[in-house]
Symmetry: C2
Subunit: 424 residues, 2 copies
């Protein structure tokens, strides 16, 4: 079986083209292919039009060893991926009795009649191997093609991300051979420095090609990715090692994690190492912090409760003195500290984190732990307080005015960053 | 100035291709172009490679009136979009003194020295008009091209979505002419019916081309989009009117809103019409409901507070009787009703909504208001209760096991759907 060295993804669907549905499949497949050492230079999106899907596939086969098409495998007349592949390969699709039996069984299990048009999903061209889809009704195809002296492969996958993901990893990848080397990648995740400051610290390192060093501004801070290609996994790692160490040194304390780490998981793990419990009170972050914590598996015993206050009255309900609330924003540090202490007592936990209300701020943002890399007029001031067994710490922070949704999320990540720092 | 009838987007950047950064620009631009009556049949993504960007642009100019490139306008050697455009058009880019002055001023305003490599961003080819970028350092280009008897336009936009969006709407669109008709679109948003049930209800309507009817499974339910093209806005609307009415009738009560409506905004508006206030208690939704409510502008006076309980102990802290908690899940309906009543009293509001804990459920999901369209083994059972001035209603619901994050979000949307129904 020939090795796949170059691949390209074609996402099929007018709804993707028009932004009605976000195409996350292309990027996910490309990322997976890159990790398998395959070069991905192109990606196409085309609408539900036979001629254009056909043309995109022809072009892709002319320049890539493997072409993965996602979407267009449904039962309707708009689902044209099967037809386009059949047309390009000069074959005719007919109903495969085994696929038909599987499909009818599947509908029977739902206690539903199978509409006759669903029979399209049981079609197969002679040279296609069917890829099973136990979580949907659209099987995929894997077709090996010999063209102009080249050995090529076409894979079709369903559009729904869960079905696509399962079929790719469990059905398609095991049937392919990737001998083109391997990619090693390590991502450093930082908070508290802007992207341009990270770039300054990294200097010439970002100019290298192998290993490559790239920065990305993400929801939870700036990520720095070191990636190297090698003839195998060991070789790729070896090529990255020196640069990876340099990047770690240059970023220093601002690094909070790597790769798949999340701030919420690390904060919960730090609490669990101490056998400590947590409760949170949120004003300006409006539930975003609780939402991140809720995502951590196995955190139930560590997390007490959370309270979201949408106004000063609610802060009073939680036990913050009304004279403190009357003197906001001047009394913000004291009031938010009181909120952290109150929520710690209410839920009887070891640590109480409070995110205070947002107030306009006309300063220069120099003490912003969140490191925004932007220049806008009115900044926002928010106090975050952590009530711990040893006392309460208060941190006033300044954020750029990038909207409520952005602020809520950034406050949630910043709180976790501060909590984790205070625990280590 | 010639009218733009067909357009295509090229997103430039290796990080987009590899999924390191999600390409949201392509879909956003394509949606905007569709609304302007422009046909978008293709979309390409290419890495930071001069030859491949050049090739993608050549191909696009051969088939589309307008080509919009996003990304690759930064100061580094990897930012090749300017070079690719210059190369395809056979022109040489030189530093534009006006752009250079603007750029140096911009850095001075940050009190930072301009690295000499940023001078690349002040370059322009003779036939390009510069598009100002007041919120970044990369100006765009608008280039009019006459080729093979066709009048074509190339637009370059920066990669960061905020800069891209501003430049597209405020700088590029006003300089272009879109005479190719207009698109009218109306989206119906539903909850409580699965996508296949929606398809059954709509029947043959989804087979039409103009107006077209399409369904999309979204985070807040199934959306149905009716779209029509016409010679102008009135004509497009006229073509859609009959089908739009039919779709509305067929979907009936399951429709909760249209177009840009959000469930949280509609629920808050319904509360405000009654002068009523709201508090929420969340167990299985873990803050997702509070997060949605926090996103509503002007809701401060309507929203009291929210409590997230991560375990039964916290439900006890909030006042749910311990004997009820001891008999969970059998006592779920009573316990969640008590939670709704407690949170209503705690924050002294008119309505208390409680989302209970999640328990495994082996039923057939027939009473699932959330309408999942999937077949999986173990379903999840969650009770939602609404404590209102006239009494407390309890709704036991079944959800498919699609993961914690999915469940949290779906519970939040379902709670708002039920609250809004109970208010109307």
């Amino acid at each position: 079986m020939p090795d796949v060295r170059t691949a390209e993804v074609i996402a099929v669907g007018t709804e993707l083209l028009l932004g009605e549905t976000h195409d996350t499949n292309s990027a996910e497949l490309a990322g997976s292919l890159a990790a398998l050492g395959v070069d991905v230079y192109w990606s196409q999106r085309v609408g539900d039009n036979l001629e254009r899907v056909r043309e995109a596939l022809e072009r892709a086969l002319g320049r890539s060893d493997l072409v993965v098409l996602t979407g267009g495998l449904g039962p309707t007349d708009d689902d044209l991926t099967r037809d386009a592949v059949a047309c390009v390969l000069g074959e005719t699709a007919t109903v495969d009795p085994a696929l038909e039996a599987w499909l009818r069984e599947r509908f029977a299990a739902f206690r539903r009649d199978m509409p006759e048009r669903n029979l399209r999903q049981a079609e197969r061209i002679p040279s296609a191997e069917a890829l099973p889809n136990p979580i949907g009704t659209a099987p995929g195809w894997l077709v090996r093609v010999h063209r102009d002296g080249r050995d090529l492969t076409v894979v079709t996958l369903p559009g729904p991300p869960r079905e696509m993901r399962r079929m790719w990893h469990h059905e398609a990848v095991p049937r392919l051979s990737f001998g083109g080397g391997a990619l090693y990648a390590r991502t450093f995740k930082t908070l508290g420095v802007g992207e341009s400051d990270v770039a300054v610290r990294l200097g010439d390192l970002t100019a290298g090609a192998n290993p490559s060093v790239a920065t990305y501004a993400k929801r939870d801070g700036v990520h720095v990715r070191v990636a190297a290609k090698g003839i195998d996994a060991d070789d790729a790692r070896r090529r990255a090692v020196a640069v990876e160490a340099d990047v770690g040194d240059l970023l220093g304390d601002s690094v909070w994690g790597h790769d798949d780490d999340t701030l919420a998981e690390l904060a919960v793990a730090a609490l669990q190492r101490r056998g400590a419990t947590l409760a949170v009170a949120e004003v300006a972050s409006g539930g975003a912090l609780a939402d991140l914590l809720s995502d951590v598996t196995g955190a139930e015993g560590t997390l007490g409760g959370a309270v979201i206050a949408w106004g000063p009255e609610t802060m009073a309900t939680l036990g913050v003195a009304t004279d403190l609330l009357a003197r906001l924003p001047a009394s913000a540090a004291e009031a938010v500290a009181a909120l952290a202490t109150s929520v710690r007592a209410l839920f009887d936990v070891d640590y109480g984190v409070a995110v205070g209300p947002a107030f306009p701020h006309a300063g220069d943002g120099a003490d912003d732990v969140s490191g925004p890399d932007r220049n806008e007029s009115a900044a926002t001031r928010v106090v975050i307080a952590i009530a711990a067994p040893g006392g309460t710490t208060v941190r006033p922070l300044t954020f750029p005015p990038l909207g409520r949704a952005w602020l809520r999320e950034r406050l949630a990540f910043t709180s976790l960053f501060l909590l984790r720092s205070s625990l280590s």
